[in-house]
């Protein structure tokens, strides 16, 4: 049995979008190194629950296996915490030292307004998809056989790699400009690589980038922090690709 760990936590508390937020300090003891970060927060919440003085800490989570994209958290200055290629729900306490002070904050970005404590509203991402992140095929009725459109494996793999984006928003949180370029470029690239998506590609790239700007995301200045923090390892190559697509959408 590995030794149990103790932590000091500084957690962002904020009642609602209008209220002012602040850091509050908590202590949690005897945490197994095999606990996930969210399980550690569960334990803390159970302590707070009967405290009566305050409400439990609200944070987003659902699948707890790194795929739904619901969890967030900015931990010790990094989106999804100190480990690479993981979401917060897949982050384990063995990544921290005994006695360490851990800062926990929500995603900080204007287009992601805070709802409560560590929960933010990411519906701006949905609105970008609504502006054109799809292939306009009827979902009902008959379509052609899937094998009538062969797709070169390399293209299919590239499209797949872009499609692994889970829309968690870590790229925005990690970016000093709060740019959503990694998310948007992954979505655009997936469809641009596939023959089915190419007919609408100009309209798609123009609409999605315009919507991204309108929602208040910043510009990309190629610092690549997004790539470093992306839990799915999505490459900034897609941003380069989409920049080209964007320019050609004018012609």
């Amino acid at each position: 049995m590995k030794e149990l760990l103790n932590f000091k936590l500084k957690i962002w508390r904020q009642k609602n979008n209008q209220d002012k937020g602040y850091f509050k300090t908590y202590k949690v003891n005897n945490i197994s190194p095999n606990s996930s970060f969210l399980e550690m927060l569960d334990i803390l919440n159970n302590q707070i629950l009967f405290d009566n003085k305050e409400s439990t800490i609200s944070f987003d989570h659902d699948c707890r296996e790194g795929i739904c994209g619901m969890c967030s958290l900015y931990i010790n200055g990094r989106a999804h915490g100190p480990d690479n290629l993981v979401t917060t729900c897949q982050l384990y306490m063995r990544n921290f030292h005994n006695g360490e002070t851990i800062y926990v904050e929500p995603w900080r970005a204007k287009p992601f307004p805070i709802i409560k404590d560590l929960i933010v509203d990411r519906s701006s991402f949905d609105r970008i998809i609504i502006s054109g992140g799809f292939i306009s095929v009827n979902t009902f009725g008959k379509t052609i056989d899937g094998n009538i459109i062969p797709i070169p494996k390399e293209k299919a793999d590239k499209a797949f790699d872009a499609a692994t984006c889970i829309g968690c928003g870590a790229c925005v949180a990690a970016c000093k400009n709060r740019s959503a370029m990694l998310f948007v470029s992954a979505k655009i690239s997936q469809f641009s690589f596939l023959p089915q998506g190419r007919i609408e590609r100009k309209k798609r790239v123009f609409n999605m980038i315009s919507k991204m700007d309108e929602e208040g995301f910043g510009s990309c200045s190629n610092t690549k922090a997004c790539e470093v923090e992306c839990p799915k390892g999505i490459s900034t190559e897609y941003i380069t690709f989409v920049n080209k697509e964007y320019i050609s959408s004018f012609t």
């Binding site: 795929i67 979902t139 899937g146 062969p150």
Partner: protein, 677 residues
């Protein structure tokens, strides 16, 4: 009321391969210009709800979609890993609609409805085409054609996949289709909303009461039809592979309003999950069944070796071939590691119960899933392909690892993050865990529950998987229901209301107020209870009872005991649960959980009652009293070839529920005892 479910199930007459076509030809239609006069509410935005929403709005209906997550893209279908079945026979291994139909009926241990399953098999190929057209990036071979693999319970490679993220890619396909319709103004999306009651007007579903989880406000929504696509109830076990928020509340509210609950005892236990390793654990993580294509499952042959492994004295690599028991290959030579989930799960339990388990946890529960031989086999093939003569073992292993990585890379990565062990080097440890529920609300062939106007699709209904679900068929059912079945059958129901205008369709109807105050009182009661125990305390306790007595195998004594224990726990819950906050407060995750656990505490009892009634072993329902000499499940077709559908008695206890039976006919497959030897 006594239902004649067989009479009411609307299954069309005629030959099995003509039923759906014949039925479609007599279903009533609604002309395009009338469709926009109809409001449809859909609860849930996963594969079934999402695909239904996209299709119905495409056709012109006005659709409202509700989900508890912050975006429809997060529904738990996103977590499905392995694949989706379709009988396309691209591989030329003699697959056909009939083969898929037969495998599904057999896999479900002859407890599903024949006509529904045949329709599902018929539609399966359309689904793949539809998803390809939407831009779902399925795996392709080097010629650019769709790639497939095989899954448990079948002898053909009919499973289409996108690495270990098939569910995610299919869901994002649906989600993009929903978004397209939101943009056109035809779908109104209600994120962070939870349905808390179904509103009936004169016995017909006319709307819902929902709680806005952010503001805490109750909302009334009326519609011409309500579609339930809220998924399964596996979280009744607390630890499961389901998302933390996945709940039974929606189907349970429908049940309490009169919707029959069918086969509640059928819970699939998935054989390949990462074993439990601590009391603090909140969630179990699944490893895709597709891994069983290439991984060989074993435990040590000798008890002392198992003991050494548990205590870290020996490593799996130290156990040589002769001392390993590849128990699935031994017991089921023709399917081997690809036996269906219930068979694989029970076989693992059998070995661990005998003391051969390899994980160092409370009960020594765990078996190995070993990729070593596949790595070497693939390495050799790859070396041949590359023209490398006499490759060293090291070279072979390196090449083999690359092949494995291209197939299952993200799963291996996930395993390593959770366990700190590298599965390319050392075998994975796995153990069965609660995964999918085959039971659900009773529906007829049109996917309508016994409450008129309330349709149920996907995992939330009961109809297609019998007592066991084969791998890669949940995604298939979700999309078949949503994209290709409901859009036809719902029109048939709605048609009679084309010229029907009255206040029954409005939230002004008094029934909405009644429902709202009912919900309000329940919330008040939870919050003002001021007990001493947390919601999670009750949920974990319920989970323990369920896993111990209503889990992988059940017996009369245990089930009877569990019913009493659940009743006691439920009483304690209502006397002693603590939910913080005020009724008027907004976001309150403890309150959300409390409502859901309250429902699980009732459903759990019904599950045990149903399991107690079914005196046979079939599929996932293994009653210890009914087994063959070899320890295999012993079905009793003479007495139990039916769907049990439970009816709630208003203002009475769960134990007073009445069971109705829908007797099942098998006219197109021969009833056989299920053997995978």
């Amino acid at each position: 009321m006594k239902y004649d479910l067989k009479k009411n199930n609307q299954v069309p007459e005629g030959k099995i391969d003509k039923k759906w076509n014949n039925h479609k030809s007599i279903l009533k239609l609604i002309s395009p210009n009338n469709r926009s006069n109809f409001d449809i509410i859909i609860i849930g935005s996963g594969l079934s709800g999402g695909s239904a929403a996209a299709s119905l709005s495409e056709l012109g209906y006005k659709v409202k979609v509700f989900c508890y997550q912050d975006s429809p893209r997060r529904a738990h279908s996103v977590a499905a890993q392995g694949g989706i079945n379709a009988s396309k026979n691209y591989k030329g291994d003699n697959d056909s609609i009939y083969q898929l139909f037969h495998d599904t009926i057999k896999g479900g241990d002859y407890r599903s409805r024949e006509a529904n399953v045949y329709r599902l098999s018929e539609i399966s190929s359309n689904i793949i085409d539809q998803c390809v057209a939407q831009g779902v990036p399925f795996a392709r071979d080097y010629a650019g054609y769709l790639e497939t693999r095989s899954f448990g319970g079948t002898k053909v490679a009919r499973t289409f996949y996108a690495k270990g993220q098939t569910g995610q890619q299919l869901l994002l396909g649906c989600y993009s289709a929903i978004c397209r319709q939101i943009g056109k103004g035809k779908i109104k999306m209600y994120n962070r909303h939870e349905m808390l009651d179904l509103v009936l007007v004169e016995g017909v579903a006319r709307g819902i009461i929902a709680r806005n989880l952010v503001s805490g406000k109750l909302e009334k929504h009326s519609a011409h039809a309500v579609v339930i696509a809220s998924g399964g109830y596996g979280n009744v076990f607390f630890l499961s592979t389901n998302a933390m928020g996945a709940n039974a509340s929606c189907i349970w509210k429908v049940h309490k309003k009169g919707g029959l609950f069918a086969n509640p005892c059928y819970t699939q236990i998935h054989p390949t999950c990462i074993p439990i390793h601590g009391e603090y654990q909140s969630k179990l993580t699944l490893m895709s069944e597709s891994l069983r294509n290439d991984g060989r499952i074993w435990v040590p042959k000798k008890l002392e070796d198992a003991n050494f492994i548990r205590n870290g004295i020996k490593k799996p690599e130290n156990i040589n071939e002769e001392n390993r028991d590849y128990y699935l290959e031994r017991r089921y030579p023709s399917f081997g590691n690809l036996v269906p989930r219930d068979v694989a799960s029970r076989a693992a339990k059998e070995r661990c119960d005998k003391g051969f388990g390899i994980e160092n946890n409370e009960n020594g529960e765990g078996v190995f899933l070993d990729f070593n031989s596949s790595i070497e086999k693939y390495g050799e093939e790859k070396a041949n392909e590359l023209g490398i003569n006499n490759p060293s073992l090291e070279k072979k292993r390196q090449l083999g690892k690359e092949v494995i990585e291209s197939k299952y890379g993200n799963l291996f990565h996930m395993y390593e993050k959770i366990t700190e062990k590298n599965p390319y080097e050392t075998p994975m440890k796995i153990y069965p865990a609660v995964h999918y529920t085959m039971g659900g609300l009773w529906v007829d062939y049109n996917l309508m529950s016994n409450i008129p106007g309330c349709f149920v699709i996907g995992e939330a209904n009961f109809s297609d998987h019998g007592s066991n679900r084969l791998g890669a068929s949940a995604l298939m059912q979700g999309l078949a229901d949503g994209y290709f079945i409901l859009p036809y059958t719902i029109a048939n129901y709605l048609a009679k209301y084309v010229t029907y205008k009255n206040e029954n369709f409005s939230i002004k109807n008094v029934e909405f107020n009644k429902s709202e105050s009912f919900v309000k009182n329940k919330i008040k009661r939870l919050i003002q209870n001021n007990g001493k125990k947390s919601v999670d305390f009750f949920h974990k306790k319920l989970g323990n009872i369920m896993w111990k007595y209503v889990g992988m195998s059940r017996n009369h004594t245990g089930l009877s005991k569990s019913i009493n224990k659940i009743q006691e726990l439920r009483n304690e819950f209502w006397n002693n649960v603590f939910v913080p906050g005020d009724v008027e407060d907004g976001l309150n995750t403890e309150l959300e959980k409390a409502g859901r656990v309250a429902d699980f505490l009732e459903l759990g009892e019904l599950m045990a009652m149903d399991a107690l009634n079914r005196k046979e072993s079939c599929g996932c329902h293994f009653r210890e009293e009914y087994k063959t000499k070899e320890g295999e499940a012993l079905r009793n077709d003479l007495h139990y070839k039916y769907v049990s559908a439970w009816e709630y008695q208003e203002n009475k206890f769960i134990s007073d529920e009445i069971m109705h039976k829908e007797y099942l006919d098998f006219n197109f497959v021969k009833l056989e005892s299920r053997s995978y030897k």
